[in-house]
Symmetry: C2
Subunit: 316 residues, 2 copies
Amino acid sequence: MTAASGTGATELFGKVALLGVGLIGSSLALACRRHGLAGRLAGYARSAESREVIERLRLTDSVHAEPAEAVADADLVVLCVPVGANAAVAEAMLPGLKPGAIVTDVGSVKQAVIRDVGPLLPEGVHFVPGHPIAGTEHSGPAAGFADLFEERYCVLTPPPGADEAAVGRVAELWRRCGSRVETMEPAHHDKVLAMTSHLPHLISYTIVGTAYDLAESERGEVIKFAAGGFRDFTRIAGSDPVMWRDIFLNNREAVLEILQRFGEDLSRLQRAIRWGEAEVLEDRFRRTREIRRGVIQLGQAGTFDAREPHKDDEAG
Amino acid sequence: MTAASGTGATELFGKVALLGVGLIGSSLALACRRHGLAGRLAGYARSAESREVIERLRLTDSVHAEPAEAVADADLVVLCVPVGANAAVAEAMLPGLKPGAIVTDVGSVKQAVIRDVGPLLPEGVHFVPGHPIAGTEHSGPAAGFADLFEERYCVLTPPPGADEAAVGRVAELWRRCGSRVETMEPAHHDKVLAMTSHLPHLISYTIVGTAYDLAESERGEVIKFAAGGFRDFTRIAGSDPVMWRDIFLNNREAVLEILQRFGEDLSRLQRAIRWGEAEVLEDRFRRTREIRRGVIQLGQAGTFDAREPHKDDEAG
C-alpha cells in the first residue's frame, strides 16, 4: 500500500481528504491506492473506534479527529458522511481548507448538499457535488473494497457557473475508479433516485418491519421461508439506518411525491384482489416485464442474472 | 436420460404424471430423472408450443394434450399448473385416474387447492397438497433445472385423516430432490407465505408499475440507474403474470390482511418523513436488522451473500 501511495505520473491530486470513512469513503481510499490517484490520503472519522479501524487497515496515510486537520493542504476534499452531517462537517473543515481546493461529496441527495454546503464555501473553492451509485448493505470502514465503483454510474450535479476544470478533474477521478460519469440537474437527480433507490429502500424497511411485528411464532417462520421473495427485502433493509434516515429527511419532497403515486397504484391492486378483478392484475403484472427487459439490456441486472437463474426466489 | 428413466432399485414411483410442465414441472421432471425417482414420466401441457418444447427437451417420456391420458396408470400425479387452473385440470384427469393413486400439487396457496381439488377426488385416491418454496423469475418448460429444489424447503399440508403412507412417499420424493420437508396447517401456510412471498411480489409489481408510469424521459433514467435498489424489484416483478394473478385471487384474505398492516406501517413512515421525525425513522430502520440477522443465520440469505458483498445495490 505504501508503494501505491507515493507520487506517480498518473496521480490526479496531490492530497485527497476523505471526510467520513464508511463503506464509500473506505472504498474510495482503496480505489485511489490501486489506481494511484492521490499523492497522499487523509481520513477524518468522528468515532475513535472508526479511526482505529482506518489506522489498522491503513486505509489513509493519516487519520484525524478534526475535519480541519484532515483537509489541511488537500487539493480534493470528499464529503463521505451521512447527508444530514454534511453542513456540520463542512463548517468544521473551513479553517483548514486550502484556497483553490475542490470539494465534492458522495451523497444520495444533491439538492440538500447544495443548499447546506454550497453557501459555506469561500470564494475560489470549487464545489462539485457527486453521487457514485454504488454500495452494499454493509457499512463502516472495514466494509470497503477497491472495485466497488467499477462499471457503476457516478452522477455529478455541478451548480450553474461551476469551474469546468474542477468538474473535469472530479469526473476523471471517478472514471479512473472505473465508473461511468454522467452530469445531471440536481432536482432531476433527486427525483430519479427517489424512484430507483429511496422508495425501494423505504418499502424494504417497511415490509421487514411489518414482518417483525407478526406474532413471535410467525416471525420465526417468516425468517425460515424467506426464500419466497422476502429475502431480497431483508438485504436492502440491512443498510445503514442513519444514512437512510438522512436521505429521507433530505429528499422529502421527491420521496413523498413518488410515495403518493406508489400508494395509489398499490390501492388499485388491493381493490383488484378484493373484488377478484383478474384482468387488472394480469395486465399490471404483464407490462412490468418491459421495464425488466430494459434493465437487463442496459446491463444493470446484476452479475448473477446473466450467468444462471436466481434460484432462491419466488415460490411457485 | 433414457438410462435414468429405466426402472431402478431406488425408484419411488412406477409412473409419475406432471400436469403442467412450467418452471416447477420441468425442474421436477429433471430432478426425477437425475435421482431415478420415477419409472416413467408423463407430461400434460395445454399449449402445443409447450408440448413441442417438452418433447424436444425430452423432459418426460410421453407428452399429452389431455390430463386423463397423462395420468393413466400413474402412481403419483403432480398438479403443476397455476393455482386457478387446478380445479379444471383435476376434473379433466378424473376419467384416467388410477384407484389408489397419490395426487399432490406445487401451488403457493394451500387452502384453495384443498377447497377446489379435494372434493373432486374419488375415495381411495390420496391427496397430499404440497409447496416447494423454490423458483426463479423465469417460466415455461425450458426454464427448469434439476437442482432447483436442493436445500429449499418444501411444505406439505395434508388434510386431517390423510393417509400416512402417502404423505411419507410424497415427503420422500421431495427429500430425494434435495429439499427439507416440513408439514404445516394449510391456513398457517397461506398466512406465512402471504408475508414472505405474496406481499413482496405484489409490492414489486407495484413499484415497477409506478416507475413505468413516469414520464418517458424519467423512465429511461430509472432503468439506467436501477442499481440503486430498484433492480431487485424488477427481477421479482419479472415473474409469471398468470401464476401470480392466480395466487393473489386465491389467497385473498391472507394477502389483504397483511397488505392492510403493511399500508399502516408505510403510512407511519410517510408521516415521519413529512414531519421530519428523525428518531422514528432511525428506530424503524435499526430494528429490521434483527430479522436480517435471522435470515442470514438460517442460511436463507442466498448464495452470493456469504461469498462477497452484493455490490450493485444501494446508492450511498
